[in-house]
Symmetry: C2
Subunit: 342 residues, 2 copies
DNA sequence: CCATTGCGTGTAAACGCTTGCACGAAGAAT
DNA sequence: ATTCTTCGTGCAAGCGTTTACACGCAATGG
């Protein structure tokens, strides 16, 4: 039963109907304990009959709060980021906040542009992914005094609030596992390392672990590809071209690894008999493909939850630890085994 | 080089620096062709030196436009929805719009609540998924006169703007394919059909195709499970319990199908030799698992693009067709084959 | 019994922008 | 030269809230 015909009800309409001032209506709706129970009820009743829905922009303008958090991610096409975002959104929603989402496809300039757009839209806080960002981004964050938190990476410099884990340690971890299995000839199908410290760190971790065994990755055995299945397929093909075929191929994430495994199948290579393949992320699919993927599990959903709570706390002027390093875990499955003796 | 110390620059600051009125600055920034080239340049220069970023809420309040589009999806954890959202966000971004995102985990009440929240935040338009929604949602859309578009389903009633495809036809299509292969004993691991016309329609389509061959799905051979891998695994187990084992199991989407195939592997059943498995969606993973999945391809990204353009057109007062039925395509791969002769 | 406190409410001034209207200048038409 | 447009700009009135402050009243304490 709509009472007004042309336009949506405003605070003033509710006030009139409840025979109180707009101030009281405003308080009744946002700080219920501040008004007498009797008034509260009248106001609520009036709001209900009018189908009142607050005008967010007006509210934001007056209160200088939008109750909106922005998130900028490389892409949602990778299920693993979608996972973090899903957790983030859920946690924000429970606290009455809404998520503004943007993606940039691993392009630093686009990232700067969309971040600006989000700030312009008045987000109360911002979730970014990774530590490497366009200087403009950090500049805007600072000049707007905007709470933010970096995810998916742990900022060793200590300059930025962040929640993440040690990508380098993860790289070392997987490399050591393969070394333990007896592998000595390695290749890596990495993600694009430019502007992506996650990819850089994983590669660095691998290199570090290998060098402890006096093994170096030759230039031809490190291929950078976009984080897609076809990137994994191509990467595997290129890595095989080298003079000495690797017995283990470390992929920059599970998507690449799954692509690489598919390519092995296509080429008649047996995994792990002919070649061991590993990933990073432990996305759900990792356990479902065959052979099941050996990988490193990252706390994707936890990061979303933590990022949300971190920002909510700061917006509430509650104190929080600025940085949070979450644990990772080596997940041993079937895709990596001891190399065939030759 | 920040010029102001404490607070962000406002329009007035820019105006002062450029020695024009705020009106002119506003116009220079939003309707550049309305001001003289010389003035425009002065204003832009001033805006740049001050690092001016418009205040979205104020702008929205005055112009009654937020340049924000809301989207409400069941979940992002299914890559296939993430795919549509990714395309949606990209298209909106290109037009200067921003995406407010919410999810509800297939809960109709949560959906109504978050939709309300988005409307409250002042979205200019709304993208919903499916045709079945809480009456409150349609009520709010109407009373706020809010442009919206339904996706992932084609509204046969003709009451709603939509972009989607014929889920029932897709169901018939996959069933007919299996019938053509010679299957006669079927089971279906469906998604939860309550409040989900997509799941209902696919099931109905399957039933319709089978009944043309005088085959009926017994109650025990239709299992409803959440759209998760483990749902697929459990579904397959339960479906196998019936007195007559099916030679073909139609799964409600690819996620269920992948789970079902994994369960077959776990049980030592060969796909497709012992049992054929099919899905819906043709998510990327469908072609990468083994056996590769026979499924029906849905135009997921196209829906996102179309939904964005549809809303953008209406917000621009350009005319658009209200409904758009996109084609689907049977993708024949290895997971379904002729049943073994017995 | 008066002063003090606290509570519930109203008044009105922001909040930072957009935009209808008015105005003057300059060019076009008569 | 005079009138009519057109163009570029400024003035100022909103847009729909929140919130500091003021006010009146009741309860409390001395």
């Amino acid at each position: 039963m709509k009472t007004r015909s042309s336009k949506a009800a405003r605070l003033e309409d509710v006030a009139k109907l409840a025979k109180v001032s707009t101030a009281t209506v405003s308080r009744a709706l946002t700080l219920p304990h501040k008004v007498k129970a009797r008034t509260l009820e009248r106001v609520q009743q009036a709001a209900r009959t009018l189908g009142y829905v607050a005008h967010g922009a007006a509210r934001a303008l007056a209160s200088r709060r939008t109750h909106t958090i922005g998130a900028v991610v490389p892409t949602l096409d990778n299920a693993i980021f979608a996972n973090t975002i899903q957790a983030l959104q859920r946690t924000l929603d429970a606290a009455g906040y809404v998520l503004l989402l943007a993606s940039h496809d691993f392009d630093a300039d686009i990232e700067a542009r969309v971040t600006r757009t989000l700030i312009e839209r008045g987000v109360d806080g911002l979730v970014l992914l990774g530590t490497t960002h366009h200087p403009d981004i950090y500049r805007m964050l600072e000049s707007h005094n905007l709470p933010y938190v970096l995810t998916w990476a742990f900022d060793e410099s200590g300059n930025h609030p962040c929640v993440g884990f040690d990508n380098r340690a993860a790289g070392m971890c997987i490399a050591n596992h393969l070394l333990d299995l007896g592998h000595r000839r390695f290749a890596m199908v990495s993600g694009i390392t430019a502007h992506n410290e996650r990819a850089q760190e994983r590669l660095a971790g691998v290199r570090e672990a290998l060098s402890a065994h006096d093994i170096a990755l030759s230039p031809g055995s490190v291929i950078e590809k976009p984080y897609t299945h076809s990137g994994g397929r191509e990467g595997l093909r290129e890595v095989l071209k080298g003079n000495e075929a690797p017995t283990a191929v470390i992929c920059g994430n599970d998507v690449l690894a799954i692509g690489a495994i598919a390519e092995c199948h296509a080429q008649g290579l047996k995994v792990p008999d002919d070649v061991s393949i590993t990933g990073f992320d432990d996305m759900e699919m990792a356990s479902l493909i065959s052979p099941a993927l050996t990988t490193v599990r990252f706390p994707t959903a936890e990061m979303g939850v933590y990022a949300a709570n971190h920002l909510l706390a700061r917006l509430d002027d509650r104190s929080v630890e600025l940085r949070n390093k979450l644990p990772t875990e080596l997940i041993v499955r079937a895709s990596a085994a001891a190399p065939a003796r030759k």
